[in-house]
């Protein structure tokens, strides 16, 4: 590893043109759970000059290590998943119409009328639906079941597609004012954040960066990644829904928003997969307060991140999650704010710089 570039360790990473360009490349790539190849290639290319050690494990996780300097370095695992929700072709019908299933959590009401890209070549298809001219009033009141939908690839193109091929929403990345509009922001925002952190690791820790696979189908990659790294602590970096919209059909306040845009990184206090170590929740909150970085607590409730797998590995690993809030998660297009992403990166970088062995000294306590 003689080529290694020594990037300034203490320098606070910023979101600029090159970071946005990288995020664009990551979001536009296809990486439906189980076939994260295209995303992995981008990650490997980006980190090859900064990591001390890079492995691709049996499941396809990228495990990148960057060692710090000094004594008593805490081994900190960061995890961001490379995979995204999408589709898999299961059967070919006449006229290049393909039956498909969903991979990961997608509301079937989101499907009709969406353009998709199929296979590693990104062949253009569309999830067709009966036009309004042909539907009855009664039909229009019911959702269209996925089993009644097909991906239409048309002749010639359809010849190249076979069962097992994966497909993703065809949405292309765009910056719209202060916002990012793209597919797969969950969790390419996390992947891009981890890449930046690898390039700007604070010197006092060993950074163990896991770019994981198969999160959307059950936190699978993170489990084996954590087993291999065997870290002292872990932070999952992800994206989480912001349903910060008013109740326009009722006059009471929205009390189930999960997170809000423009309120900064969302720190987890509990989801269905993890009850984070309170010492780490406090560490993040105090860092934000001291450094003047906005942050919010994600409302406790459902959902799960890679932390859900990581914290149960071996003898247990103190873990927490931080997410960038995004609207319309797990649909064809999500919306995030550049500032929320920048503040997530800033919070993590600052917090990593404050880690000492004292953070994990003593027993797991309450808040």
């Amino acid at each position: 590893m003689t080529k290694k570039i020594e990037l300034s360790a203490g320098q606070v990473p910023e979101i600029g043109a090159s970071q946005i360009e990288l995020l664009e490349k990551l979001c536009n790539a296809t990486g439906v759970s189980g076939d994260e190849h295209e995303v992995r290639q981008i990650v490997l290319e980006e980190i090859k000059l900064v990591a001390d050690d890079v492995k691709v494990d049996a499941l396809g996780n990228v495990l990148a290590t960057r060692f710090g300097r000094g004594e008593q370095r805490v081994r900190v695992m960061l995890a961001a998943h490379m995979d995204e929700i999408g589709f898999m072709i299961v059967k070919k019908h006449e006229d290049a119409l393909f039956e498909f299933v969903r991979v990961g959590g997608i509301d079937e009401r989101q499907l009709p009328g969406k353009p998709v890209l199929v296979g590693r070549e990104g062949l253009p298809g569309v999830i067709g639906a009966k036009p309004i001219h042909m539907t009855t009033a009664k039909e229009r009141q019911n959702k269209i079941e996925q089993s009644a939908l097909r991906i239409d690839l048309g002749p010639e193109i359809g010849e190249k597609v076979k069962p097992g091929d994966r497909a993703t929403f065809a949405t292309r990345f765009a910056i719209t004012g202060p916002s990012i509009r793209a597919k797969a922001l969950d969790d390419r925002l996390g992947v891009a954040t981890l890449i930046e952190l690898l390039k700007h690791v604070p010197a006092g820790i060993d950074l163990l960066a896991a770019f994981t696979v198969q999160e959307e189908v059950g936190l699978r990659g993170a489990r084996v990644a954590a087993y291999a790294f065997d870290p002292d602590m872990a932070v999952a970096v992800d994206a989480t829904p912001a349903y910060d919209l008013p109740h326009w059909d009722e006059d009471d306040e929205n009390d189930r928003y999960n997170t809000r845009l423009d309120a900064g990184p969302a720190i987890y206090v509990m989801d269905r997969a993890t009850i984070p170590d309170q010492r780490l929740v406090t560490w993040l909150q105090e860092t934000a307060l001291d450094a003047g970085i906005p942050c919010q607590l994600r409302q406790p409730g459902g959902g799960g991140t890679d932390a859900g797998a990581i914290h149960k590995v071996r003898g247990g690993i103190p873990s927490v999650s931080v997410s960038v809030p995004i609207r319309y998660a797990h649909t064809a297009v999500s919306l995030a704010r550049l500032d929320d992403w920048a503040n997530t990166l800033r919070l993590l970088h600052t917090a990593l710089g404050r880690i000492t062995p004292d953070l994990l000294a003593g027993e797991r306590r309450g808040g």
Binding site: E253, R256, I275, Q278, Q299, G315, E363, R364
Partner: protein, 332 residues
């Protein structure tokens, strides 16, 4: 032992927030263990004995967490919305009282919903007596447990969180009474069982036992019109688990447990639980796999604020556990 049970059930400790209850356990064990440690997920692990040629490394697991609630939102009027920690039926919530980890108390109210409709937890809120968001003493992420005093009915005892504090008390008492043993016994007071048997998983990995037993409560089939039917009854002795929906007890251990109970003249009953899981699953599936069983205490009204157990069952569970741990464990 009743006073220990009372102390344990009246100390709040929802999953993930077991620090206060852990301190009660540590104090109750006192000098009786050879070694005490706490693992990364907060489980307290007390070792007694050293493995000999005739002995095995044994894990006993009783979970110290309980079901509870966590704050999701405080509205402008100071009402507190919440989500569940572990399996909570809305049926047991309305009008209930809760206590937060800092001692703040509140009552559970209900939105005006359609009459006859089964409420969900999102139809409910906690009222801590605040007049607005500004003077509400709790915030998002704060945790509370149900509040209900220990009730001594003589032969029967009632409390919230008998699941699984009564088993924790049984394990503490067994640890104290256990004399010479060929086994190296690790008493694990595990965390986060109610949210998915998490603490016992990491503890089992750390202990790396040769064999393990969970100690937990199980449903009791002796109340009117139970559905599904179950053969267990309060007062019929500790229950030797054959299976639940999380694991199938090692049949060699089941036979050995039955014979040991018979040999010692300890009453027992067999348990087949169709819904529900225990730390036994975590022990069984750790590393390369571990023979696992479970001693259960029949309990009525599980996951309500008034869980009822029988005092004799509790005492006999201690006797059975001490008997099992005192001798070589037969795995044939």
């Amino acid at each position: 032992m009743k006073s220990l049970i009372q102390k344990l059930v009246e100390t709040p400790g929802p999953s993930g927030f077991e620090y206060a209850i852990r301190d009660v356990i540590r104090e109750a064990i006192g000098e009786h263990a050879d070694e005490i440690r706490v693992d990364a997920l907060g489980s307290l692990i007390a070792r007694k004995g050293t493995k000999t040629e005739q002995g095995l490394r044994v894990m006993i697991s009783a979970h110290i967490d309980e079901i509870g609630l966590m704050v999701t939102h405080v509205d402008e009027q100071g009402f507190v919305r919440f989500t569940n920690i572990g399996g909570i039926s809305p049926l047991t919530c309305y009008g209930g009282r809760v206590v937060f980890m800092d001692g703040t108390r509140g009552v559970i109210g209900l939105d005006g919903i359609e009459r006859g409709k089964m409420p969900s937890l999102t139809d409910m809120f906690i009222d801590v007596g605040a007049t607005s968001k500004a003077d509400c003493p709790v915030k998002v992420g704060d945790v509370c447990g149900f509040e209900r005093p220990f009730l001594d009915l003589g032969k029967r005892m009632v409390a919230k969180s008998m699941d699984d504090r009564v088993a924790a008390a049984v394990a503490v008492e067994a640890l104290k009474r256990l004399g010479s043993t060929p086994n190296e016994v690790h008493f694990v007071f595990s965390t986060q069982e109610e949210v998915g048997i998490r603490g016992a998983s990491t503890a089992a990995y750390g202990v790396d036992p040769d064999v393990g037993f969970a100690v937990d409560v199980t449903r009791s089939g002796d109340t009117p019109r139970t559905n599904p039917k179950m053969a267990t009854a309060l007062g019929a002795g500790p229950a030797i688990k054959v299976r639940d929906s999380s694991f199938i007890a090692d049949p060699r251990l089941v036979d050995w447990m039955v014979q040991s109970a018979q040999a010692a003249g300890i009453p027992y009953q067999m348990e087949v639980l169709e819904a529900g899981g225990t730390d036994g699953r975590a022990i069984q599936l750790t590393r390369g796999g571990v023979p696992a069983g479970c001693v259960s205490i029949a309990c009525r009204y599980i996951h309500s604020p008034s869980e009822m157990v029988d005092s004799d069952d509790v005492e006999n569970a201690v006797r059975l556990l001490v008997k099992l741990l005192s001798e070589p464990i037969r795995l044939t």
